[in-house]
Subunit: 384 residues, 2 copies
C-alpha cells in the first residue's frame, strides 16, 4: 500500500511512548543486578529471565535430592491507593515482595527468584524507580533475585496517579520436607511472630474508615505514637529523605506513615530456622496471616481432626488496630475476620521445642509469643 | 478491649466480601486441575503451588543435565478494556497465556507452569469463570500447568466493569541450548509465522482509532470479512455460545470480534520443532513479535555485527491492519513501529534447513513465510 502521509494518529497521541518505556527498562538493569546471585544468568534485552538450577550442585547451597518448585502470586491490594494518595512508593515495593515470599516459606521453601508486574496510566520515572527500588530491597532482604518483570502503560484502565502491582515468586523445597497439615499433632504449640502493623490486607476497609471518620492522613494522632507499636517506627525510617510525604515530623509518624508501614519479611528468619532443624521434625506447620486474619489462615495449616486454640490476649495489639476499630466502630468479630491484629506469621512446633524455637527466632530479630496450642477438633481456629 | 457492638463499619460495607471470594477460589479448583501434569503436587488451600522437578528423571520427559529455569511476566495491555466493553473474557484469558508462553519459548525453553493475577473492583463469577477458563485453555494448549493465581478485589482502583490481568510463566531449558544472539550468522534465513491479527499489543492506539473514527465495535465491516484474514475466523469460534457479544452473525464477525481475536499460541509447534532438531544447530534465534513490532523485537535476537533484512511484502497483511491504518490515517512508519503486521513469531534458521523447517512448521499447523535474511550490519532490522 502507498505510505500514508500524516498528520495521522500515533501511539504517542494515544498515550503510550515506546521509546520512553525502553529507556526506563534499560535504566532498571543496575537495580535488578544488585539482587542477582551466581545462579542468575544475565539476559539483557532477552524475552525472559534465566535462573540456573545447578543439578550438579556446584553453586546450589544445599543438595536437593528431589526438589519441588514452589510458586505463588500476590499483590498488595488497595494499599496501592494509599501509596498513590501519599506519593510514597518504596514501601509498597517491599509489601509486594513480602506478600509473596511470606506465602512461599509457609511451604518450607527457600525463595529463589521474583518477578513484578507494574501497571500505570503513564511513565513516571520517579514513581517507578522508587517502586522498583523497594521491590529490589525486599528481594535482597529475602535472599531472592529480581530476574524480570513488566511495566505496563495502560491509559484508560488506570486513572492518573493510580497504579497496580502484582508479584510472582518461585522457590524450592525438598519433596520430603514440604510442610503438610498431617504433621500437626495435638499438644503442639502455636508461636506467633509479631507483625509490623496492618501489613497489606484490609486496606479497602482501612480507607473506608479514614473516609467515614474524616481522618487526616498527614496528621500525627497521639493514640498512634507509641514506641511499642512496630508500625510507628518503620515507615519513617524507610521513607526518610525519599520525599516530603515520607519524612517523619519530630513528634512522630503521621497516620499515613503508620498505614504505609511495609509488611514484615519473614523469609530470612524462617529459612534459617528450617535449616537449623533440618534433621529433626520440630516444626509441624506454618501460616502467613493475611486476608481473613488468624482464623482464616492458621486453619490452612491444620488437619480436619485438630483445632488451634488461640489466646487473643497473649500478645500486645498494635495501637493502629485499636485506633481504626474505635474510629470505625468496627466489631471485634470483624476486626478478627479482616486484620492480623499483631501476629503476622505463625509457627506450629512440638511442645518440647517451643522455648528453644522461640529463643532462636528472637535471636533472629523476631518478637515471638506463645499464642496457643493444638487440640482435638475439626480443623478450626478457636480464639479465646 | 470490650467487644464493640455494631452498627459499625464492615469489610463488606467497604466492598470486599471474603466469603464470596473464598467460595469462588474453591470453585476454580476443577478448572485448574484439568491443566495439571504428573509433576504438579495438588495443594488445595495451600499458600503456594507445588511443581515437582524430578531430579531423578522418573517423570521428566527429557533428561536435563544442567537445567536453567526461564521465567517471564506479562499482561495483555489495554485489550482488557476492549474485552470489558464487549463483555467477552474467555479470549483475553488465552491472550494472557500466549503473551507469556511465546516469550518463554524464544529462549528455547519448554513451558512448565503458569500463574495468573486478576484484579477487579468486585466478584463477578461469570466474568471470572470465563476468564480463568480461557487461561486454563491457553495453558493446556501450551503444555503448561496452571498451578496458582490471585484474584484481587480492588474497589477504588478499578471502575465497575474494568479489570486487569497479569500472567507469570516458568519453563526450563538445557544450559547449552539457551537461544543466544551469538548463534546467528550472516546468510541465515528469517522465517515468519503468521499472526492471528493484532494479538495483544497496540490496543491503546486501536481504541484511539475506534474512538476518533467513530467506529462501531458491534458492526460488521465488509473490509474485514475476508476468509484469508485469520483474525476474522477465530474469535467467533472461540466465543460461540458463550455469550451474545461473542456470537458471530451469519454475515461475518463484528469489528469487536476481530479485535478480540486471541493471540496465537506458538509453544506447541516451537517446542516440537526444537525437540526434532535437538542434536543439530539448525535454529539460530527466535523472536516473539510484540509491542514495537518486527523492528523492535527481531533485533533482540541479533548480535551487534549483523542486520536482518526483511521483505515487508513477503506475506499477506491481515486486513484488520489496513482497515485501522486507513481509519486512523496512521503512517506506515507508525504501523511498523506498533503492530506485528501479520507476523507473530520469527525463527532464524541456517539457510540449508530453511525449507525443511518451514515445511515442518507448516505440518504443525503454522502459516510460514520466508521473510528475510541475515546480513552484515550493526544489530538492526532493515525493512525493504
Amino acid at each position: 500500500m502507498p505510505p500514508i502521509k500524516g498528520p495521522g494518529l500515533t501511539y504517542a497521541d494515544a498515550g503510550v511512548d515506546i521509546d520512553e518505556k525502553d529507556a526506563f527498562t534499560e535504566s532498571l538493569d543496575s537495580v535488578l543486578r544488585r539482587t542477582y546471585t551466581d545462579r542468575v544468568i544475565p539476559n539483557p534485552g532477552g524475552f525472559a529471565g534465566l535462573f540456573r538450577l545447578d543439578y550438579n550442585h556446584r553453586l546450589f547451597a544445599r543438595n536437593y535430592k528431589d526438589p519441588v518448585l514452589v510458586a505463588c502470586c500476590d499483590g498488595v491490594g488497595t494499599k496501592v491507593k494509599l501509596a498513590a494518595d501519599l506519593g510514597v512508593f518504596h514501601t509498597v515495593g517491599i509489601d509486594l515482595v513480602a506478600m509473596n515470599v511470606n506465602d512461599l516459606i509457609v511451604q518450607g521453601a527457600e525463595p529463589l527468584f521474583f518477578l513484578d508486574y507494574i501497571a500505570t496510566p503513564s511513565v513516571d520515572k520517579r514513581f517507578l524507580h522508587d517502586l522498583v527500588r523497594g521491590i529490589a530491597e525486599g528481594c535482597r532482604r529475602s535472599g531472592c533475585s529480581l530476574i524480570g518483570g513488566e511495566t505496563a502503560h495502560m491509559p484508560g484502565i488506570y486513572r492518573p496517579g493510580d497504579f497496580d502491582l502484582a508479584g510472582f515468586c518461585v522457590g524450592v523445597v525438598e519433596l520430603k520436607r514440604i510442610q503438610k497439615p498431617i504433621r500437626v499433632r495435638a499438644g503442639d504449640v502455636v508461636l506467633g511472630l509479631a507483625s509490623d502493623g496492618i501489613h497489606s490486607n484490609g486496606y479497602t476497609l482501612v480507607r473506608h474508615v479514614v473516609d467515614k471518620a474524616g481522618l487526616d492522613l498527614n496528621k500525627v494522632y497521639p493514640e498512634l505514637t507509641a514506641t511499642d507499636t512496630p508500625a510507628a517506627a518503620t515507615p519513617a525510617r524507610k521513607t526518610k529523605g525519599r520525599n516530603k510525604a515520607g519524612a517523619a515530623p519530630a513528634d512522630g509518624p503521621t497516620l499515613g506513615q503508620v498505614l504505609l508501614t511495609p509488611t514484615r519479611l519473614y523469609a530470612d528468619p524462617i529459612v534459617k530456622l528450617l535449616r537449623s532443624y533440618k534433621v529433626k521434625n520440630v516444626i509441624s506447620g506454618m501460616a502467613h496471616i493475611t486476608g481473613s486474619g488468624i482464623g482464616g489462615n492458621l486453619c490452612r495449616a491444620l488437619p480436619q481432626t485438630l483445632d488451634a486454640r488461640i489466646d487473643m490476649n497473649a500478645w500486645p495489639r498494635p495501637k493502629v488496630f485499636s485506633f481504626l476499630q474505635a474510629q470505625g466502630r468496627i466489631s471485634e468479630e470483624e476486626m478478627y475476620r479482616v486484620f492480623n491484629l499483631g501476629i503476622g506469621y505463625c509457627v506450629i512446633v512440638k511442645r518440647a521445642f517451643a522455648e528453644s524455637v522461640a529463643e532462636r527466632l528472637t535471636k533472629l530479630g523476631e518478637k515471638v509469643y506463645i499464642i496457643g496450642e493444638i487440640v482435638k477438633g475439626s480443623g478450626e481456629v478457636r480464639p479465646d
